[in-house]
């Protein structure tokens, strides 16, 4: 206290806060008990430099303090000139010392005590400093001494202090300020006139100190802990931009600094706006409760909230699924997808798909097993496997399944890659399939034959032709069992069983109904010479496939079949395990390609073909404990 000049009578000294190159700073109290920081600048000690300090003060008072008082700039309250010194009072920083004496609460003090600051604190402090710099720039002055020691907290508000070095932009000055915070071109004398870039450089170095906990002289070294979080890496990039060695590479405006400081949170530039909306959202439920009470509908309010929550959950998951899997053209209101989302969400362990076959879909990464019927949507990226031993080794494909009759369904975009079947001769049909009759008869309009048809004793006789055809005009069920009786003893020529599916691909990004058809075809052909039936060929042909892309199956192991004996009963079973052809309940050919629905036709070339019976069944899967109804019969 003895050092406090006796000439200053208006203020009572409390403690000396610090001593620097430009003077001494005291914590003082006036007659009303208000506390200030009082800085004494001794003329003798500083030589001519005191005039510079005084000039800076005058500039600040004239341009900033009177006209553009700002909450993030320190306020000057009183300036007085004495014989040997002059002094001025300003806002004093909060006490960070606790009970151990007054320690000014500065950014440097916080870094010294706590190390790197939390990122939210940094956003608050540096956005405040940027606002302060904006004010200084708007009146054409530069601070020239920004550093952690000069960022003070007054009543918790960060303020830019120590305005003694403030000067106008046009003045040419020698090197002043703390060297680590001064740009190198100023230090080396290449540049004489300070500008706003110098302040941004210093602010960048200050940010470096704050986020890394290092001294400014250690730039650009950063401890790895400071870079582990994303904001640390963002600050690191910002600091490197601010403090680049070449002036042309640096950030030039406060706006640019602000944008990089906030990164993806740039929309929250105004901290108060963010706070406002946060509080608004937090207060929304109690507000709604109060509103509901006032409107006397408080009983309905929980229901309303539950509905909002439910809709949010449903649409959120729906959207997530869509964007995750690329279905961008489906509305969030798309009920099947919402329904599925809900089922998947709440019943991930079991879906009671009575009446449908199921696969085990194993998601690629998550090993996430679910059961789906084929009319359910599955992801395009799903890898398909099955517990069924007959197809387990064969199907490993990228597929997408959609029901043919489901509105807006997305069907196979990527076909199952063909894998040569290793089907066993004795593969039976699954017991779980029940067969519901869909069509039976020969004279129905659904069954159409090319060329002349004769009828004799209830048998349809197709005339001899090179391109004869018998087509079932309607679409097949998803899983179908096509049964017919053909008289191969009286036939000499070639018979082809053809299954065709048509997959719809809607144009990308459009909701309109699909207009592109992608056909796939499986064709199984037999030759008959009236005595034996022999395998001719079996092919799989995608639409527009070149001849070399047509996949040809090898000959089945069954060898030749006796054609003698009149009518033979042929069955073409297309189920989810694959396609199989039976002759007199004996498996003669099979593939593991799965077709869903589609069309069937019988082609022949040769003598007249006698067809004794034609029927189509819908092969349905039932759960073992399901009660069978009388409509179903096992063929």
């Amino acid at each position: 206290m003895n050092d406090f000049p006796v000439e200053i009578t208006s203020y009572r000294p409390i403690v000396r806060c610090g001593r620097g190159a430009y003077g001494t700073v005291w914590l003082v109290e006036n007659g009303l008990g208000h506390r200030y920081a009082l800085k004494i600048v001794e003329k003798d000690r500083l030589g001519d430099f005191w005039e510079r300090e005084l000039s800076g003060l005058k500039t600040y008072q004239r341009r900033v303090d009177r006209t553009k008082s700002h909450r993030n700039l320190i306020a000057i309250h009183h300036v007085e000139l004495c014989d040997n010194f002059f002094y001025y009072t300003m806002d004093c920083a909060d006490d960070a010392g606790g009970g151990d004496g007054y320690v000014p609460d500065t950014l440097a003090e916080r870094i010294r005590r706590n190390g790197p600051l939390p990122w939210l604190d940094m956003l608050e402090i540096f956005s405040a400093m940027l606002e302060a710099l904006d004010v200084l720039q708007s009146v054409g002055v530069v601070h020239r001494d920004i550093k952690p020691d000069n960022i003070l907290f007054v009543a918790g508000v960060p303020k830019l202090g120590d305005i003694g070095l403030i000067s106008s932009l046009s003045r040419t000055l020698s090197i002043i300020g703390t060297t680590a915070f001064v740009p190198p071109e100023i230090l080396t004398g290449q540049k004489k006139t300070p500008d706003c870039g110098c302040d941004l450089y210093a602010l960048g170095k200050t940010l470096y100190c704050a986020f890394s906990g290092n001294d400014a002289g250690e730039f650009p070294l950063v401890p790895p802990e400071a870079l582990r979080r994303s904001y640390g890496r963002r600050f690191n990039k910002l600091v490197k931009r601010c403090c680049a060695e070449t002036p042309g590479m640096r950030i030039r405006t406060t706006d640019e600094f602000r944008r990089l400081l906030y990164g993806r949170f740039a929309w929250q530039l105004d901290w108060r706006r963010l706070l406002h909306w946060t509080v608004w959202v937090l207060l929304l439920p109690p507000r709604l409760l109060v509103l509901g009470w006032r409107l006397r509908y408080c009983r309905l309010l929980p229901v309303l909230l539950f509905c909002i929550w439910l809709y949010g959950m449903m649409t959120r998951y729906t959207w997530l699924r869509q964007y995750g899997y690329g279905y961008r053209y489906v509305s969030p209101w798309h009920w099947p997808l919402m329904k599925q989302s809900m089922l998947e969400w709440y019943l991930p362990w079991y879906l009671p798909l009575a009446g449908y076959d199921h696969y085990d879909f194993i998601k690629k990464d998550a090993r996430w097993v679910k059961r789906f019927g084929e009319h359910w949507w599955v992801t395009r990226k799903s890898y398909l496997s099955s517990k069924n031993p007959y197809i387990r080794d064969a199907i490993f494909a990228t597929i997408e399944v959609g029901g043919p009759n489901e509105k807006g369904a997305v069907k196979a975009v990527k076909r199952l890659p063909f894998i040569a079947p290793g089907i066993e001769q004795s593969t039976p049909l699954r017991d779980e399939y029940l067969h519901e009759l869909v069509f039976s008869g020969l004279d129905d309009r659904k069954l159409r034959a090319d060329g002349d048809v004769e009828w004799r004793d209830g048998v349809m006789i197709l005339s001899a032709s090179r391109h004869g055809r018998l087509k079932y005009a309607k679409e097949l069920p998803l899983r179908s069992d096509i049964q017919m009786s053909l008289d191969t003893e009286m036939f000499s020529g070639r018979i082809e069983f053809i299954l065709t599916t048509a997959d719809y691909i809607p144009p990308y990004g459009q909701k309109k109904p699909p207009d592109i058809l992608l056909k796939r075809q499986v064709r199984f052909a037999l030759n008959s010479d009236g005595r034996t039936l022999t395998f001719a060929e079996a092919i799989y042909r995608p639409q527009d496939a070149a001849e070399e892309d047509v996949r040809r199956f090898g000959a089945p192991k069954v060898g030749s079949l006796p054609a003698a004996g009149g009518f033979h009963r042929f069955r073409i079973v297309s189920v989810t395990e694959g396609i199989r052809v039976y002759c007199d309940d004996k498996l003669i050919w099979g593939t593991q390609l799965a077709f869903y629905g589609g069309y069937f036709e019988l082609r022949y070339s040769g003598t007249g073909l006698r067809v004794g019976e034609f029927s189509i069944y819908d092969a349905k899967l039932v759960q073992p404990d399901e009660t069978r109804t009388s409509r179903l019969r096992i063929p």
Binding site: T179, T188, P220, V222, P224, L227, R233, A244
Partner: protein, 189 residues
């Protein structure tokens, strides 16, 4: 700015730049204290030696023009320290002889003292070189080198922290090592 023996920076020192003085003081004070200990000065004399050397160096630096033919800066500094130490001992009052007593000639110093000097000089040199590197090198390159080489983090982790490719970490290492070699060579000549 770090003080080094590079010619351009010696100009800055001759100007009496506060920056150069402080950096010089921080950088060479351990060396001067070490040499003072080898010359058997007591603690207070060593502190005084630091001040004397600093004054002598900057006094002579005003008229000093660096000439490479005169030898290396390390020898020049060593000679100044020794001269100042001798002056210090000469100024001792008659009869006031320290227990550590008479300073030996430079040639009489034990080999361990020279080894210590060399080791300390190398450390100082590396510090200076690294400081110089900060001005020559891209900050990202330097950070990569620091994390990978000095702190021993795996290259993949460094790449993640700095958001660069792992291959770039190895490139930065090679680049910085070459620059360091060059800077050390320049400083030591």
């Amino acid at each position: 700015m770090a003080f080094t023996t590079r010619r351009s920076l010696l100009f800055a020192v001759r100007r009496g730049d506060e920056v150069g003085w402080q950096e010089f003081y921080d950088m060479y004070k351990p060396l001067i204290l070490l040499r003072g200990g080898d010359l058997r000065l007591n603690r207070s004399e060593r502190e005084e030696l630091v001040q004397l050397v600093m004054l002598a160096f900057f006094k002579s630096a005003r008229t000093f023009v660096y000439d490479r033919s005169k030898g290396r800066f390390r020898d020049y500094l060593k000679r100044i320290i020794h001269n100042q130490a001798c002056d210090l001992m000469r100024r001792r009052r008659d009869g006031e002889v320290s227990l550590e007593s008479v300073a030996p000639q430079l040639e009489e110093l034990p080999a361990e003292a020279e080894a210590r000097w060399d080791a300390e000089w190398s450390k100082t040199l590396m510090d200076q070189a690294f400081e110089e590197l900060k001005h020559r090198c891209n900050p990202t390159t330097l950070q990569s080198f620091d994390l990978f080489v000095r702190q021993g983090l795996p290259a993949k982790e460094v790449a993640q922290l700095l958001e660069i490719r792992p291959n770039a970490v190895y490139q930065h290492k090679a680049r910085v090592e070459a620059m360091l070699r060059e800077i050390v060579r320049q400083l030591d000549e």
